[in-house]
């Protein structure tokens, strides 16, 4: 699950030069337990990552978190749920592509039916009607697809603005962004405004959903950075396993 040996120094050098930060020092082979821990952590860019963790934290404390708190304070839960449903519905085309590339026909079918039902009966996606009629929602991304294709995760990355990631997850993010049809709206249409609103609301929606959890980690962890790293890795792994183990038969229940 690590980058090839030749790549690692190059990665370190690239990021190191970019940020004037150093790489984490690898423990000597004489300390096998420490070495094993270093390899498990797989965070050779830790000093650089910690730098961006601090940058993001500062931005979050002064901009994002207050904005998310205001969002929660101003809008009642039903409205926020409507916004969330609307945004989820907009990302259905990308999700469908992810489900298909993951080779999961039932998940792809769920996504397709959800998009059809929620866009119409659910009033442009504001209400999650599809869930009530047997098409529960799920989340995925192209990073999961890459994982199922056998692409290793690579070292841990903490990216400016984006937060915890990895070369694999970041590639997945780039592919998902490029695949999103709403990103190809021609200029001069009102939909361009919709795209910006979508980006802004999406950020607020996501951040507001983690208000309590992030505070909890910061309050209880001795090293919040390491705790977020651990949680991110475990969460990614469990997301991949969930998709991998979803082997529902393609024949629908009513046919049998």
């Amino acid at each position: 699950m690590r980058a090839p040996h030749i790549l690692r120094p190059a990665l370190c050098l690239g990021f190191g030069l970019a940020t004037l930060a150093a790489c984490a020092t690898k423990p000597p082979a004489s300390d096998p337990e420490a070495l094993q821990e270093y390899q498990q952590t797989n965070d050779p860019l830790e000093p650089t990552n910690r730098f961006f963790y601090r940058v993001n934290n500062t931005l979050d404390a002064y901009l994002l978190k207050p904005a998310a708190q205001a969002y929660v304070f101003v809008l009642p839960i039903p409205v926020r749920n409507g916004v969330h449903n609307f945004l989820s519905n907009l990302s259905s085309p990308v999700l469908l592509a992810d489900d298909v590339t993951q080779g999961k026909p039932r998940r792809a079918g769920d996504t397709f039916m959800r998009f059809m039902i929620n866009s119409t009966a659910g009033v442009v996606g504001l209400f999650d009607v599809a869930k009530e009629v047997g098409y529960p929602g799920h989340d995925s991304n192209f990073g999961v697809t890459l994982a199922l294709w056998g692409v290793p995760e690579g070292p841990f990355l903490y990216l400016p603005f984006l937060g915890p990631s990895s070369p694999r997850a970041f590639t997945g993010f780039a592919v998902d962004t490029a695949a999103d049809p709403f990103n190809y709206v021609p200029h001069g249409y009102g939909l361009l405004t919709l795209n910006w609103a979508r980006f802004g609301l999406g950020t607020l929606d996501t951040r507001s959903r983690y208000l309590g959890d992030i505070e909890k980690v910061k309050a209880t962890a001795l090293d919040p950075y390491a705790t977020f790293r651990s949680l991110y890795r475990q969460n990614t792994q469990s997301q991949i396993e969930k998709v991998r183990d979803d082997n529902r038969a393609t024949t629908p229940d009513w046919y049998q």
Partner: protein, 209 residues
């Protein structure tokens, strides 16, 4: 020949018996926990019912916290979790450090659990199934809270201490003890692997209101 056959059979049978006994003894000797975690699912049901009962009861927050302490001590193998969280540093710690660390860990854990009781009002749960992993039973539950997405929680039950006890909670795929272990390991690696600094940090954490 006819005289030798019955004893031959007898010894063969005795050999088979001895062999099967030995295998059984070896198996139980290697995994003393396996046999005792049989009742993992009813155990988790009873523990979860006690927790949910307290959390949903109409008593005050302080009374709930007081009631939770004994229930957790009775059903959770706190010393085993503490040992796991210290990882490779456990064997490097002196007995005095180990003792102090476990006592502090116990207090921190209780505080972290009881500190967020308010968020779990109106909680319900369902047992979804049990699987075995490395001699421990993982009992899966789905927890429902009003106005929130249901969460999948697995309770890891071990019989290592003689009776079934919870040794980890895995919420949506993230393990409590693994996360804590990596937190402590990182803290120690940034404080010259000095266990006393960890103990001091835990003490500071408890002193914070």
């Amino acid at each position: 020949m006819t005289e030798t056959r019955p004893p031959m059979l007898f010894t063969r049978r005795r050999f088979l018996l001895a062999a099967s006994l030995l295998t059984a003894a070896l198996a139980t000797g290697l995994r003393p926990a396996a046999a005792q975690v049989q009742g993992a699912e009813p155990f988790v049901k009873s523990f979860a019912s006690q927790l949910v009962g307290i959390v949903n009861s109409p008593q005050s927050e302080a009374a709930k916290q007081a009631a939770l302490g004994p229930v957790i001590d009775q059903n959770v193998d706190v010393p085993a979790i503490a040992r796991f969280c210290l990882g490779r540093f456990w064997s490097q710690a002196t007995p005095a450090q180990q003792q102090e660390y476990v006592a502090l860990f116990h207090k921190v854990l209780l505080r972290n659990i009881t500190g967020h009781l308010g968020e779990y009002r109106g909680v319900t749960y369902q047992v979804t199934g049990t699987r075995n992993q490395g001699g421990e039973e993982l009992v899966g539950t789905t927890i429902d809270r009003p106005q929130q997405q249901p969460i999948d929680v697995e309770w890891v039950v071990s019989g290592q201490s003689g009776a079934p006890k919870v040794v980890d909670v895995i919420a949506e795929g993230t393990s409590l003890r693994l996360t804590q272990r990596q937190d402590y390991a990182s803290y120690l690696s940034r404080h010259s692997f000095n266990i006393d600094t960890l103990i001091a940090a835990l003490r500071r954490q408890l002193a914070r209101t």
